[in-house]
């Protein structure tokens, strides 16, 4: 048996012995929480009461370094090579094992530190990330920046060995649950893109206040973060002073693709079909309203085309064609389609979509209405639809400014 096959056997055996059965995800079942609740997000403020097995799974995997299997062992990773990492992934998939740890630490700030952090930063942060001891949030958007991220105004001024930060961040997801923030601040007002610095700080530092942002759909993980005279040591800058724009660009692509794939997967089109069958019943399981039936078919087919496009791009990537700016179409199309889908669901529900809570409505109806409202933000967050169209026009089609 080759080394890699030997690894596969050992790996499978270990996983089978150590992965708690509740961490093997067969899709949503009655009594389960949502997948978001079942996953381990880690951090000092983690509440494990809903998913105690998740903590067991995290700790066991972290001990082997398999929360970040291909990172170096000295940074808390598994030290696996590419082939071994793939085998581990395959064996986890075979068991339907959930990832032992989720969040920005592993997916965003960790990789960035590996590429651009100092040796000290890597030693300080990566092991804690791998063990799920610190949870991260991202401080990019500000009330007056929006699509024009580079116009950010939170300023950092050097005072001795510390940067002193003042300003405000918005749309900080789970800032109330995070331990550290990676953040863009303005260190030079002369240069728009060239005056931005990427910096890390502890959310427990004095001067930081976090306030959740309720949305039109109700509760949301988004927060406002107020930053008042927060002192951050110089060695918490990543990638050098005034080099934050380059750091942000490296990460922004990640975020966009995550959001589009999240929305592409999350809500299945069949839900629209089932709703239409229930609320607009026709003969033999058909949808009784021919006009809506056409709309349901159109959206179902749109989803088929989107999925085919994602698959096609993936196959082309495997053949060595690097995906370029045309991936903006995923963000655009997936989010617009999701909006259309929820809009149609409301039309299907009719007056039963009018509820907020309480009497007169089914729970499922109330939920769809909330999700519909939330869906309206899909084409705003992570780069608006308009920004995606600008990118396509300029960078793919080469249309002039």
């Amino acid at each position: 048996m080759s080394d890699i096959e030997q690894f596969r056997v050992e790996c499978a055996a270990w996983l089978d012995e150590n992965c708690p059965s509740s961490m093997r995800w067969e899709g949503p079942k009655a009594g389960d929480g949502t997948i978001g609740e079942m996953l381990a997000w880690g951090g000092r403020k983690a509440d494990w009461s809903k998913n105690p097995d998740a903590r067991v799974w995290l700790d066991r995997m972290a001990e082997k370094g398999w929360t970040a299997p291909t990172w170096a062992r000295e940074y808390g990773g598994g030290g696996l090579d590419k082939d071994e990492g793939r085998v581990l992934g395959q064996e986890m998939a075979r068991l339907k094992a959930m990832p032992p740890l989720a969040g920005f630490g592993l997916t965003m700030i960790g990789p960035l530190l590996i590429d651009h952090g100092t040796e000290e930063q890597k030693k300080r942060f990566l092991p804690e990330i791998c063990r799920g001891e610190i949870r991260w949030c991202q401080g990019y958007s500000e009330p007056n920046s929006g699509s024009d991220l580079a116009s950010l105004a939170t300023r950092a001024e050097l005072d001795g060995d510390d940067w002193v930060l003042n300003g405000q961040k918005v749309w900080t997801s789970y800032a109330d649950l995070a331990d550290w923030m990676f953040c863009l601040v303005r260190t030079d007002t002369e240069s728009k893109h060239g005056g931005i610095t990427f910096i890390l700080f502890d959310m427990d530092d004095p001067g930081i206040t976090v306030r959740p942002i309720p949305l039109i759909s109700g509760y949301s993980p988004f927060c406002e973060t107020f930053i008042e005279d927060v002192r951050v040591p110089r060695d918490q800058v990543v990638g050098g002073v005034n080099n934050g724009w380059a750091m942000a660009k490296a990460l922004l692509g990640h975020e966009r693709s995550m959001i589009s794939s999240a929305f592409s997967e999350r809500s299945s089109v069949n839900r629209v079909v089932e709703l239409a069958r229930e609320y607009l019943p026709g003969e033999d399981g058909r949808i009784g309203d021919a006009h809506r039936r056409d709309s349901v078919a159109a959206l179902t087919m749109d989803k088929v085309c989107l999925d085919l496009t994602i698959r096609r791009t993936g196959e082309a990537a495997k053949l060595g064609q690097q995906p370029g700016p045309e991936t903006s179409i995923f963000k655009y199309y997936a989010t617009e389609l999701n909006k259309d889908r929820y809009s149609l669901m409301l039309s299907v529900l009719g007056p039963q979509a009018l509820g907020w809570e309480g009497e007169g409505f089914e729970d499922g109806e109330l939920q769809i209405t909330r999700e519909w409202l939330r869906s309206r933000g899909n084409s705003i967050e992570g780069g608006t639809s308009e920004i995606q169209l600008n990118i396509i026009a300029k960078r793919v089609l080469g249309l002039p400014d």
Binding site: D148, G350, L373
Partner: protein
């Protein structure tokens, strides 16, 4: 008749606009919501509106009303719609009391309408059930005769302002099955009737409404409104006119959300310039403007047709509701998108308009339903 307002109507509209601006900013419905206010509106403000004569507009003069037309009440409702004013004008004047005017006996009118006209009495119309969707014939609530009177069973939902109405006009089957045109009857039910349970509903758009449950509610013989089994025709007339009222409300709120959006386009800067200078947004704003203009024409056309008792009144009403539904949703969707992230926050007012726009769209027939009705009326 005309598609533009005459001087009296303009005056009425201006005074309603002044009233709404001064007395009922949008912050009121937010305050009612956040304080879990049990009325969801102010009886004092309602009294002021009554003093201005608004509940009396459609009540015939012999019952203490002004005997004016749909155009007049739409002038007021549009301006209230601009600020989502929560007082029960539409529900009372165009649904509850309208059913009494349309179907009631002389005795019933004389007894009930004077209080409607002076604002002291509120009447609501209970016509929708969970499966009604947009067809008032699709009801299961039933009234069986019992001695001289009736016994009422069933449930009604989305009874606008049903939580505060003194009298409820309720549709129920005295024969037939859900969907049958025959066999629908209308009844007057006192809010305090034994066996009637009224529960306030929390709607997404903060329109005040209630669920009514009738558990063997006994009704006198004189509670029947109109002829037994023939209530659908007057009910349809009432709902149709109320639909125009709803269109007027949508007109006001759609113009308000567009004004809010235009203002944002002119003041919000990105990349160093006002975002309203981006041509793609300009064109989209222009398209909304066009829809608003066409919507106003459709609304005025429906008002004119009702007030002139025109032959094509139902077609004009369906045209208006279809158009306003599409326009209101477009203006709200586009407005939210152009506001970006801030529009998604509960703190911003645009969410109220978005919710109201789709709730109104999905009430009394959405655009597709009215297109279908229009096509049927045209015979194709």
């Amino acid at each position: 008749m005309s598609l533009v307002l005459n001087e009296e109507q303009k005056l009425l509209k201006t005074s309603a606009a002044d009233f709404a601006r001064k007395e009922s900013p949008l912050s009121r419905i937010r305050a009612f919501r956040d304080s879990d206010d049990e009325l969801g509106f102010s009886r004092e403000l309602w009294a002021s509106m009554a003093a201005l004569g608004w509940p009396a507009i459609l009540v015939p003069e012999q019952y203490g009303g002004l005997g004016l037309g749909l155009t007049e009440i739409c002038c007021v409702i549009e301006e209230l719609g601009r600020n989502l004013v929560p007082e029960p004008l539409l529900s009372n004047a165009l649904l509850g009391s309208a059913a009494i005017i349309e179907a009631g006996s002389e005795e019933q009118k004389s007894r009930l309408l004077p209080a409607v006209a002076d604002g002291s009495g509120l009447v609501a119309l209970a016509w929708q059930e969970r499966k009604t969707r947009y067809d008032p014939a699709v009801i299961e609530a039933s009234a069986s005769s019992s001695g001289d009177g009736w016994i009422l069973e069933g449930e009604k939902v989305l009874v606008w302002d049903g939580h505060v109405a003194d009298v409820l006009v309720v549709s129920a089957r005295t024969s037939g099955a859900p969907g049958d045109h025959e066999g629908v009857s209308l009844f007057l039910v006192d809010k305090g009737a034994a066996g009637l349970k009224i529960t306030r509903q929390q709607t997404m758009d903060l329109r005040n409404a209630a669920v009514l449950r009738f558990d063997s509610v006994e009704l006198d013989s004189d509670s029947l409104l109109g002829t037994a089994g023939e209530g659908l025709a007057p009910l349809q007339v009432v709902i149709d006119r109320a639909t125009v009222g709803l269109c007027a409300e949508m007109m006001g709120s759609a113009e308000a959300v567009f004004a809010m959006t235009l203002d944002y386009l002119k003041t919000r800067e990105q990349f160093g310039v006002a975002i309203g200078s981006f041509q793609a947004l300009k064109h989209r704003a222009a398209l909304i403007f066009i829809e608003l203009e066409l919507s106003r024409s459709a609304l005025m056309g429906a008002c004119e047709a009702v007030d002139a008792s025109a032959d094509d009144v139902a077609k004009k009403i369906s045209t208006a509701k279809a158009r306003l539904s599409d326009t209101a949703v477009l203006a709200a969707y586009e407005g939210l998108q152009m506001h970006g992230g801030v529009g998604m926050t509960d703190e911003h007012d645009i969410g109220f308009y978005l919710k109201r726009a789709r709730a109104a769209e999905l009430s009394f027939g959405d655009a597709a339903w009215h297109r279908d009705r229009f096509a049927t009326l045209e015979g194709f």
